[in-house]
Amino acid sequence: MNSETRSVYLIADFTVSSFAALLERDPAPPHLTVREAPYNQVEPELLALAHSTSSANQIVFVWTRPDAVIASFAKLLRGETVDIARVLEEVDAFCEIVAAAGLACQSLFIPLWTLPAHVRGLGLLDLKLPDHGIWGALAQMNGRMVERLSQKRNIYPLNAPRWVQKVGERSFNVKQWYLGKVLLSNELFKEAVLDFKAGLSALGGETRKLVMMDLDNTLWGGIVGDTGWEGITLGGHDAVGEAFVDFQRALKAIRQRGILLAVVSKNDESIAMEAMTKHPEMVLRPGDLVGWRINWGDKAQSILELVKELNLGLQSTVFIDDSPFERGRVREALPEVLVPDWPTNPMLYVKALEDLRCFDAASVTDEDRKRHSMYVAERQRDTSMSQATSPEDWLDTLEMKINVEPLEPSNISRVVQLLNKTNQMNLKTRRLTADAFREWCNGENRFFRAFRVSDRFGDSGLTALLSLERSDAEAEIVDFVVSCRVFKRGVEETMVAKAVEQCRGWGVERLVARYIPTAKNAPCLAFWETSGFERQGDGNAFVFDTARPYEPPPHVAIMETASENPGDT
């Protein structure tokens, strides 16, 4: 996990010093320092941010009262008749100011508007008279805010009404409001802290990507080895059986978001897989899993093997098991794995899963949605490799295609995700926001291409990045990033061939790759050591004379996609 301390600028029109303190004191990463804007100066502060040139790295949190920033809504609260169209116009105007501030900062978080539960508006008629009702207007205002802001690249509306729902009547304390202009209680602030920090972790690329689950009393009730699949508790007209089905549905739902599922269980594999295949109410089938280890061995060892097989890190993994003994064992042996405490009552499993908050993501790309099928294809690829007579023969059978494409609005999310998450095959491990990366690519004497890889087993998606920068007679490889999913299949050589071709186009004679070592990018060094480049200087510089031939691998079919904006490099 990232131990870096991040700075947050908190703008609000009520007292939020307790929220700031709770953010700073919360022990979970990321650690935050909070600076509070002057009290009740929301619009001037947002306007100042919008015109600031020094807030590009700023994380901003804007928390407002609906009646403080939307004057027509304040009139509604006072019982005046207001045209709802006028209210929404003011929401639009407020959102424009927020959006302008968002352009100038790294990310901006804004909770939706809430009201204390004792506000009943017009009672029975509150939702029936759209021009007069308080709650109806508030719902429309929040809907409008989401519509206006959710499409902005780095602005994240937060679901404050959910926090109020969770904390209940104690979300607000009117006495605190009158005594200290504190609108919301610490209990509600704590919910906000959890969601905000989960969001920041997601933006930092710290999303957990793999859930490993036990089977007996975790995915279903009972011991399948004792009762057979016909005897386990799953579905049916049974409260606990329904709870297990719902838990499996919740897991399947996070799989749709790109989170991988695997099983680690102490069981007889054939009996367990028979249950997963044959039970009529089983939601998760073997095809929903990227792997499993079902045996009588140590679960920590099984987790290690599976993580290695999937080429993921332990820090990407969550382990769910009903047994406190197994949880304790895995926590002790593999501290990087998230092992949540787990309720004893299966009816609380879905809630426990939702409360983890570790699956929040900054965006969901096509690659995320396809991640499961990519791993299944990878398994098939491994099988075919083990049956091939030589690595070269195997590569020839893959029918590999690589599409080379420029930076586009349609691929920037994935490009930046790959840039910021890739550790192993990463020449310099440069980390940049989408804006900063786009700006860099638009600079003079720079070249960028993304590589989309597929073969007969499936589409691996956008899995490699190459960027170059030219200076006089030399060009340097700035980013050389390859997802571990496509290592050693000719993608690296295709990228180098592309770089050499670009150098020739520029009339540049020397191509240089300068390797910056990290704790994790030794595989990148191993590639450059055998790349055909000449090792120079301190041993971390690799140089190629572009007059020499560098052919792309013969087993790869290369296609080029033109820019969506002709004229772009």
Partner: protein, 96 residues
Amino acid sequence: MVKNIVLSAITALNEELPEGERIDPSGTTRLIGPHGTLTSLQVVNLVIHVEEGIAEHIGTELDLTVNEELFDKDGPLQTVDTLIAYLTKAVAGHHE
């Protein structure tokens, strides 16, 4: 019971405070006045926590925040012990 409620309110308030500034829950700890460390907002938060705790666990609705003497520098918020004594009396008085 009142003592536990006060200690629980101090624990809740300490969640906001940096490690070196947390309130020692022992009886002689000064809350406001000379050598007291709480800001006015923290005092309000402490009193609100206490009010909510008493309402929840004893079932007595006390309006502490409208009682100006509570906030006097020589008043019940001088120390943890004086606060507990004041609240115990207030709860008993409410039940008479």
